[in-house]
């Protein structure tokens, strides 16, 4: 354990004082969870006026004299249900009812530093940490009781927020044990955790915490917040991406009552006492824009462009996997000598996250005796990164800026950044008043970032009995997540080639795992077809990981693979994979209308294994939702752009999955109480598209190798010749 600096002990005591005494248990991190700038962070003082925990602490928990438990975590709730699942894990280890636990989440002043809520890391990392914290708290409470009763701690039991001595029948509430005292404890790394097989609260389908407020409309998202004297903002947007502002005539806007126009370089924001006036003022700005110089590819030639335009290094959207090439054996030689060989290219389009709650922020600036302070409420998956981003944009030290994340209207990897927060903060600081900014849907389409577009070339060889012997995989710009095959192929070369992206790109649910699985699993299905093997059997033959084997088998069994007598125009397909600790296999059935070429995903069965399951119902909800969302990327979502302009920046033109697009879904949960719990918000999305591609082939004989596959149906007549591979 890191030696606790004296100031750390001091600020812990102050923090406890603020919390009103009780038991405070902290987990000091000393691993990669801490940011690279950890050293620097430790030297930063606490925010003025408020004690703050040192930033090498990654989780903490407090029990007050009423036995109420407050858990502090930098994670945020975006609909994935971690406010609930983390509370379950704490309740389990602490032996208290869920109702006595409150989670303070995503508040840069109150919660420990956190990298962000992404990459399905909340459950494996934060969940495990909080379990350790809670288990330590329980040990400490037992020790307190043992001390008080002069008995051996080993004979005491804990349940329902009490420590009990079964021999004397003495019993004390947690709150009574800590009352009037301030106790801190550090977490021992080897503290004993309750095995999943013995869970009684974790592992159950606890309903979502705070759910009543969700069905009554009472929950306040950032976009719902109001404070007195608040101004409403609108931001002037360029005509095209990268355009620069030439002259601006803001006189008409500025003559409107209560309107202020703030200009700082190309940043122009208007504020007004009401949203109507703000919108009118924005409309009254007369701006001229000079388009960005240089090449401007469009969605028509993007794939050539990405191949031709390498970036010197990986950038945004390229997270979550190895960026260096991977080689094993001799891929070129094995390809040349393979019995069967198949080479194909696959493409994936830029797509938008379309979080139903667009970006929003409320920024409040205060200038007090002890200096200035800025508080920003915003829905971001990375509150600490956005705090730093805001601080830099407004020229304030990080510790003067506080970012608070109310439970947010979804993100799917699309809200890692703090655009609205920065914009609102700039205006709030300039004007000295609270400023709220809610992006329009159109702004969200034009000025957020996209899932990267990419091209993937796959070349593979198979031997006479259906074993894949050679594999090369070249991914241009999609990203490296899940880029390596889960099959133990002896000869491989897997390379990620970052490209210069003409559009802003970034993270998306499961990152590039969807693109890489689409290419890989489509290719595997083509290989199976080429060697005339059943695609499930072909996969089972080539898989050596028993957990992957299991999900494929379970999905196939539940689906009734391969079945007989498919209706005319129907086809079935399968795909599988492994990412972020989750094993997934999906079987899908599609129907293709012979006349119109319309594709419908009729049903999908997904088997998923992410270790010990913390909340089965929440997990089903995530898996099913990922499949429905995956329908869009598989069949029809794509950003259409030309000369730096997004041409389908409205829901009328950008099609998202709707009610009738949702297939009948069957989720098979594979619980592994003996394995660590992993996240589940992402991986279940990635096997759908390749399963659907294979199913479309079976139904029509057409191979579709571009996502989205059927934005306006399949052209059966034209494509059938080319498709019979």
């Amino acid at each position: 354990m890191k030696p606790a600096a004296r100031s750390e002990g001091a600020s812990r005591r102050e923090f406890l004082k603020m919390l009103g005494g009780g038991l405070l248990v902290v987990l000091v991190s000393r691993d990669a969870l801490a940011s690279p700038a950890l050293g620097a962070r430790l030297t930063e003082g606490p925010a003025p006026g408020r004690p703050q925990m040192p930033e090498n602490v990654s989780a903490w928990l407090h029990i007050d004299q009423n036995g109420d438990v407050t858990v502090f975590t930098g994670k945020v709730e975006f609909g994935q249900g971690i406010r609930t699942s983390l509370a379950q894990e704490v309740a389990e280890e602490l032996r208290v009812p869920m109702s006595s636990i409150r989670l303070v989440m995503g508040d840069t002043l109150l919660t420990p530093f956190d990298m962000g809520t992404f990459g399905s890391r909340s459950t494996p990392q934060m969940g495990t940490q909080l379990r350790k914290v809670a288990a330590t708290a329980r040990e400490r409470l037992v020790a307190l009781a043992a001390e008080r009763w002069h008995v051996d701690a080993g004979r005491l039991t804990t349940a329902d927020g009490r420590v009990t001595d079964p021999q004397t029948h003495k019993s004390a509430r947690y709150g009574d044990l800590t009352a009037g005292r301030t106790i801190t404890a550090d977490v021992k790394d080897d503290v004993a955790l309750t095995p999943a097989a013995h869970w009684t609260i974790a592992g159950t389908s606890a309903p979502r915490v705070g759910a009543r407020d969700l069905v009554t409309g009472r929950h306040q998202y950032t976009s719902d917040m109001r404070v007195p004297d608040m101004l409403y903002a609108k931001i002037l947007r360029p005509e095209s991406i990268g355009a620069t502002l030439a002259p601006l005539d803001s006189s008409a806007a500025e003559s409107m009552p209560g309107v202020a126009v703030t200009r700082d370089g190309d940043f122009v924001g208007v504020t007004a006492p009401s949203p109507v006036v703000a919108a009118k003022a924005l409309g009254a700005l007369r701006a001229t824009w000079t388009p960005a110089p240089g090449p401007s590819p469009s969605s028509r030639d993007i794939y050539d462009y990405l191949r031709r335009t390498p970036a010197p290094e990986a950038g945004p959207g390229h997270e979550g996997g190895p960026t260096e090439p991977f080689e094993r054996g001799n891929a070129a030689g094995a390809l040349a000598s393979a019995r069967h060989r198949l080479t194909q290219s696959y493409t994936v389009a830029y797509i938008a996250h379309v979080p139903l709650e667009p970006r929003a922020a409320l920024a409040q600036y205060a200038h007090g005796r002890d200096g200035d302070r800025l508080t920003v409420w915003t829905g971001t998956q990375r509150p600490f990164a956005v705090r730093d981003q805001v601080a830099q944009a407004v020229g304030m030290p990080n510790d003067r800026v506080r970012v608070i994340v109310p439970d947010t209207g979804s993100g799917y990897g699309g809200k890692h950044t703090g655009e609205a927060a920065v914009e609102a903060a700039r205006l709030a600081k300039r004007l000295g008043k609270p400023v709220k900014l809610v992006w329009t849907r159109e702004e969200e389409f034009r000025w957020a970032y996209f899932r990267p577009a990419g091209v993937i070339d796959v070349d593979a060889g198979v031997d006479a009995d259906g074993a894949i012997t050679a594999w090369t995989f070249d991914n241009y710009n999609s990203g490296p997540a899940a880029i390596r095959p889960p099959y133990p192929i002896a000869n491989q070369r897997v390379t990620f080639h970052p490209s210069v992206s003409p559009l802003r790109q970034g993270s998306y649910r499961a990152l590039a795992a969807t693109a890489n699985h689409f290419a890989r699993e489509s290719h595997v299905s083509e290989l199976a077809h080429m060697v005339d093997m059943d695609p499930v059997a072909f996969r089972l033959k080539n898989i050596d990981d028993p957990r992957l084997h299991d999900v494929v088998q379970k999905a196939a069994d539940t689906f009734g693979w391969p079945g007989t007598n498919h209706q005319p125009g129907h086809g079935i397909g399968v795909a599988c994979g492994f990412e972020k600790g989750g094993y997934v296999a999906t079987c899908a059935e599609v129907s293709v209308d012979r006349g119109s070429g319309d594709v419908r995903i009729v049903r999908a069965v997904t088997a998923f294994d992410c270790g010990a399951i913390v909340n089965p119902d929440g997990l089903r909800n995530q898996i099913s939702g990922a499949l429905v969302q995956g329908v869009g990327g598989a069949l029809f979502e794509a950003i259409d752009f030309d000369h730096g302009v997004i041409r389908n920046a409205h829901l009328a033109d950008y099609r998202v999955p709707r009610f009738s697009d949702a297939p009948a879904i069957d989720v098979v949960l594979v619980d592994r109480p003996d394995e660590p719990s992993m996240g589940a918000g992402e991986a279940p999305i990635m096997a759908l598209a390749p399963a659907v591609a294979a199913a479309i082939f079976e139904a029509t004989g057409v191979r579709l190798r571009s996502l989205p596959m059927a934005p306006s149906g399949i052209k059966l007549a034209a494509a059938s010749g080319a498709g019979s591979s």
Binding site: R212, Y221, G409, R441
Partner: protein, 158 residues
């Protein structure tokens, strides 16, 4: 101009701008933020309210034309602290993730069940086709509507 609108059984006299939508009046003037903005173009249903018995996208209704018929928002469904059967069914089915679509989904479902007490799967999909759940919880929402229908779906009339 000043208009009188009837929201959740209360009359409000509000000064509205000709450019303002009913959604903006509900959220910004009356503080009824349960009704959400999702697109402003009538394509997502997050802003669904009842005008009379009909579910409408309040972002497409000019505020001026909303004067007159009774308007019901998500805030107007509870009775004496008791959830409306549709709200209860959404809760029972856990038919949400981020829940940003939920108020609109609930209102559209209430309108559906008033018009059709025993909707088929197709009826449900058809009635909710303009409501987007980006988290993809449609199957649960459909289950919630069926559950509410089975529970009598209806409601105690106002």
């Amino acid at each position: 101009m000043r208009i009188d609108i009837d929201v959740n059984g209360h009359r409000h006299s509000v000064d509205v701008d000709p450019s303002q939508t009913l959604l903006e009046v509900l959220r910004d003037e009356l503080g009824l933020t349960g009704t959400k903005y999702g697109c402003g173009e009538g394509r997502c249903g997050a802003c669904t309210v009842l005008v009379g018995a009909h579910a409408v996208a309040s972002c497409t209704i000019p505020a001026q034309s909303a004067a007159g018929p009774p308007i019901t928002t998500i805030e107007g469904l509870e009775r004496d602290g008791r959830l409306h059967p549709v709200q209860q069914a959404f809760l029972d089915e856990q038919a949400f993730q981020c829940a940003y679509c939920t108020p609109g989904m609930v209102m559209a479902s209430v309108a559906l069940l008033r018009a059709n007490a025993q909707p088929s799967r197709e009826d449900i999909a058809h009635a909710l086709e303009t409501n987007v759940c980006r988290c993809g919880t449609y199957p649960r929402i459909a289950a919630a509507v069926r559950r509410a229908a089975a529970a009598g779906g209806g409601e105690t009339p106002r």
